[in-house]
Amino acid sequence: MSDLLQMFRPKTKAQTTTLFAWALIAPAAIYMFLIVVWPLVETFRLSFTNSNLGTLIEGADYIGWANYEKALGGRKFPAIVNRTFYWMFLSVGLKIILGLIGATLLASNIRARGVIRALVMPPWIIPIAIGCFGWLWLYNGHFGLLSNFAEMIGLTDGPFSFLGYKQSAFYSAVVTDVWIGTPMVTLFFLAAMQGVPRDLYEAAYVDGASRWYRFRRITMPQIMPTVVTMALLSAIWTFNSFEIIWILTEGGPRGATTTLIIDTFKTAIFSYKFGAGATRAVLVVLILGVFSLIYLAVLGRVSKKFGYSGVAK
């Protein structure tokens, strides 16, 4: 029998295997090439042109680095980049903290855990846009629940339009983003926590370690790779987040919630400046690329330190 099996896995078959595997992957690979890779290259090319609605027919001209000089040299641009990073770090930080709290609560030995876990999920599984419609009403200055609640507890003396002022609009968008992102983070942290071997806790308990100590010295190190992975994935998604801001504020008031993605969309689609929009898209890709390299480096170090990679590839 084993001799027979050997016949089917000889070394000479390595090449046929490679060929067969690639034949299976080819449809997906070709599709991704057409819909993602080629447009990416095309975006890069467009970023050096003056392409706009008018040039769609007669063709655009190459204008060198002019789009980049204009974008990077513009007065607004540094503010937009700063805002994007602030948006990302604040929102991801809150998601991680809330996710850790939520997962710890759900991992504790309480009744109806399954039901509670299911109740946490809806913000994640429903269409983002629809969740945002709900928040739009919640933030309504005259008739929304939040404004009236603030008035009742004496925080404000009258209607307060959360999305009407620069600062409050920004933080309101952050809250909505955290609301959408927290369930997934919670779920993954919970799964990681439940994967921690129980005997570790029992040993620590016997030695008299407090709950907080056990969390700090057992849970945290054990789930660290998952935390790092989720933080970085979540950072990428938050950086790219479009719908939330677009539905709540369309980047306003007066640009207070305009992140790089919103700026790209506004320039390219709303103002039909395809070239200038492409330049912003390229900058987004570059920033995310650098970010991902840092991610891989950090994950490598974390894996080394804790002995396995957070989310298995």
Binding site: T18, L119, I125, I126, P127, G134, H142, E151, T182, A191
Partner: protein, 294 residues
Amino acid sequence: MMDKYSLLHKIGIYVSIALFLTFMLLPFVEMFTASLRPLTHLFSRPDVPVGETMSFVDFISRFWSDKMSFQAYRDMWVTVPQLGRYIFNSVFLATAVTIFSMIFVIPAAYAYARFSFRGKSISLTLFLAVNMFSGAVLLIPLYKLLRMYGMLNTYWAMIIPGVAFLVPTGIWLLKSFLEKIPYELEEASFVDGASRLYTLRRVILPLAVPGLVVVGVAIFIGAYAQQFLFAITFNQDRDYMPLPAGIFEFIGYQRVLWNEMMAASLIGILPVLVIFLFMQKHLIAGLTSGAVKE
């Protein structure tokens, strides 16, 4: 012993859970009560004399009314005659995206789960790298591409980019399911003289059905959730609009009928909520399997 809590601890845990759930569910509760309230009540404010703060009773009267009814759920079909069409479009688009995605995902995931070959890890990494990009970065060339093939303002305008952003995750998820099917079964099939494709079809696929269902449902939920950006950029035709884009148009109206808008939104999330409810256990286990130490 270790899992016993003191009374104080217990209270703390339940209060924290209540707060956590309040944050997660408040928008839904508010959407629901808003959908029940008549417009006149929706747009009323209690008379609070100047200089006085709103009392708790006033506050509650803002959100609770005797005149609550399901009227908005009837009226919305009249106000927005295409509403039924929007809902159909949403479900149709998500289904189409799921089917097309699976066609690409199944063979690729099988290859990654079963064979070691040249370029395996690098190509898998490249697939996953797609998750880094938002559709917003690719909008301009995609717009040109769809325009070139006359696919703007059709279902294709939303299906084609939609599939691209779900395939990588799909491959990754299904791969981890397929890896759990013992290799010996395939060997036995080969020994009996079956071809690789025959083995994939007749041995692996039947065993992989639970995994396929979970991945399919995950892709469906993802496809249902992402129907906004591509819909508002590549499609102006109301006949093909998915629900989120359709509801978004409500907001542009002179007078926003919030109760009907909230009712339509809640109806719109019903399909995914129901699917999630039935599939929750398998979905959560499947999605998070990677996060658990093996």
